[in-house]
Symmetry: C2
């Protein structure tokens, strides 16, 4: 599949590398066409991988991962343009972290709205799916590094888009029973606001190699 990954940070590089390893044609996007991190990633990853501006890598991709920082995500997709993202599936992995109040960070948007809903409103013809934002990058693409049963949440307004993202998650190693559909895109407030708990668990455990699982009868 042709997949665009927006963002060159740890999350973007980790997801892009995993997708390329699974045989996908991955384009890594950044604000500028000559981003050194993206160029180095292409060099390491080899044939089939490309890099360019956000708009260039979105090009004819079927699937787009938003791995930009949450504070910059709306600007990033505005740079691409709603028309260029129309009809595509956008997996929103970002968290709208606000570092202006000290540590741990707070959220720029929450409670009565979420970043995923903001993106969906900005891109009405794009199928936004919130997923994977509730764990560290390595756990996203290799769930087996955390022992025991633990889960990944997804939500969005389009069932076919969620099914496509579910396929990608299975290819990352997530078993069916660990992929929890929370419903419409407004449900993204749940996994985004969970970040406040994730940050305290990270502090208490001293490692990012953890995740939550839902126990139920």
């Amino acid at each position: 599949m042709r997949i665009a990954v927006l963002g060159t940070g740890v999350v973007g590089r980790t997801i892009a590398t995993r997708l390329a390893g699974l045989g996908h044609q991955v384009g890594m996007g950044s604000r500028t066409a000559d981003n050194a991190t993206a160029a180095a990633w292409v060099q390491q990853t080899g044939a089939g991988s490309t890099h360019g501006t956000f708009a260039e890598v979105v090009g004819d991709a079927e699937l787009v991962f938003n791995c930009t920082s949450g504070a910059g995500s709306l600007d990033a997709v505005r740079g691409v343009g709603a028309g260029n993202l129309a009809g595509k599936v956008l997996v929103d992995v970002a968290n709208p972290l606000d570092h202006s109040h000290g540590m741990p960070p707070t959220l720029l948007v929450c409670n009565t709205d979420s970043l995923a809903e903001q993106l969906q409103r900005e891109l009405p013809e794009t199928k936004v799916v919130k997923a994977l934002n509730t764990m560290s990058a390595l756990v996203m693409v290799e769930p087996g590094r955390v022992p025991g049963q633990h889960d990944v949440f997804l939500c969005g307004d389009d069932d076919a888009a969620k099914a496509m993202v579910g396929e990608i998650l299975r290819s990352f190693g997530w078993p069916d029973r660990s992929i929890v559909d929370l419903g419409q895109i407004s449900a993204a407030r749940g996994p985004e606001m969970y970040l406040a708990l994730w940050l305290r668990l990270y502090g208490a455990l001293g490692t990012g190699d953890f995740n939550i699982g839902v126990a139920h009868r």
Copy 2:
């Protein structure tokens, strides 16, 4: 132990009944001295149980559970008075739910503050411990009804108070490894904001008999 339970709703009654069953002297408090629900609870529970106003049941209790609705918790403790709660441990089980935006509810306070922090500021000489707010009432007092490993979070500024609450949690059936200390009272933003995810999981699962567990290496 002499324990006051503030609130006559499902959470208050469930916790009060469990505590009475464990042999504690439990007083159930409400806004008025003649609350019919509290009177019926005393009738069912028998010797050792009492009911009265919030201030009356706090009396000489060593431990106080705040099981009032989150929207009314500050008023409830103001009614008791900071002086009457000085030196006591207050377990804050409440969630500051805001039903004015429709379903599912949002939060009255979050992100840069929490109900538990508001209570601690209102009651500077009380040892506030946030705990148990992340699950339905029956799971709080009988964790074994949900199979598998799942956890209860607590936080607060006073270690001795957290140890006392930890003892109560163990007596409810929580194993040591499932009692997760998140740190200071400001960490209550984590479990309180998790409610946004809990509400979507409740919707997706169709049962309150669930809880999350933290998987880690």
